[in-house]
């Protein structure tokens, strides 16, 4: 499996550390309420199909990236810097 780091280019999967669902960068407001925070901290989908995950280019450039991939086909559709992914959201 290869992941194209937006900075370094296509690299072997072993250079990366897997963190989990990219929901982690959608941090709720401090006063969003217990239910929203509970959801953010503990509840994750388990999609068959497209999923967005956070990966860390650990032995590469040390950037956090959001990788979009398909859990059915193992296709990797794209990757963007977590910084950019976060900036796109309100």
């Amino acid at each position: 499996m290869r992941i194209t780091c937006p900075i370094c280019g296509p690299r072997d999967r072993r250079e990366f550390y897997y963190q989990g669902a990219a929901v982690a960068i959608e941090r709720p407001a401090p006063d969003a309420g217990a239910e929203v925070w509970d959801d953010y901290l503990h509840n994750r989908d388990n999609p068959a199909g497209e999923t967005r995950d956070l990966w860390y280019h650990e032995s590469g450039c040390a950037a956090w990236i959001v990788v979009t991939r398909d859990t059915n086909t193992h296709e990797v559709m794209g990757a963007e810097l977590a910084d950019d992914a976060k900036a796109e959201r309100p």
Binding site: C8, G9, R11, R14, E58, S59, G60, C61, A62
Partner: protein
């Protein structure tokens, strides 16, 4: 008063020779990481050019020359190797002295890329990884910085604590390349 003896990271470990390959310790040099403040990337590159004669390197590239080099070192970071950094750079970037943090080796000889390819998951062939190209990557199980200095000459950096592991891993890779070459 105790007399302490300064030791280089590869003291007693290098050089290693195998066939046409030779791994030796690089001469100790001042190494400073440059991390530009947000929005100051261009200004830093200009200041670097004025003070030390090289631009801030693009990802996967090194600029400068022997004695005064800037090696791309990760997301928005470069390592200045050689000169004492000009004080003016601090206006645009965070500077950190890393001189004693890294073990630096030089691999030379025909088959050098083949030996490194046994340890790093990269295409290191001449056409893909040219002179002046660099990468932060994995070497064995170590985080490393690899730079092709010239045709068959490479600069290899790992954290200082991994000096012995690097010497061990490289010895095996070099011997395996030499054995296949029949020398």
């Amino acid at each position: 008063m105790i007399e302490l003896t300064a030791r280089t990271p590869f003291d007693g470990l290098l050089p290693i020779e195998a066939g046409a390959l030779r791994l030796s310790e690089a001469a100790p040099a001042r190494m400073t990481s440059l991390a530009p403040y947000r929005g100051r990337d261009k200004a830093l590159s200009e200041a670097l050019k004025a003070a030390h004669g090289m631009a801030f390197p693009a990802p996967n590239r090194a600029t400068g020359r022997e004695g005064a080099r800037a090696v791309w070192f990760g997301q928005r970071m470069a390592l200045l190797i050689g000169p004492e950094p000009d004080a003016g750079l601090t206006e645009f970037a965070a500077l950190t002295d890393q001189s004693d943090a890294w073990a630096v080796a030089r691999l030379e000889g025909e088959g050098a890329a083949e030996a490194l390819a046994r340890l790093a998951p990269l295409d290191l062939r001449e056409g893909a990884f040219k002179r002046g190209h660099t990468a932060r990557t994995e070497l064995g199980h170590m985080h490393a910085s690899l730079t092709r200095i010239s045709g068959e000459s490479w600069r290899i950096m790992v954290f200082r604590a991994f000096a012995r592991t690097l010497a061990h891993e490289m010895r095996e890779a070099m011997q395996s390349v030499a054995a296949r070459a029949g020398v």
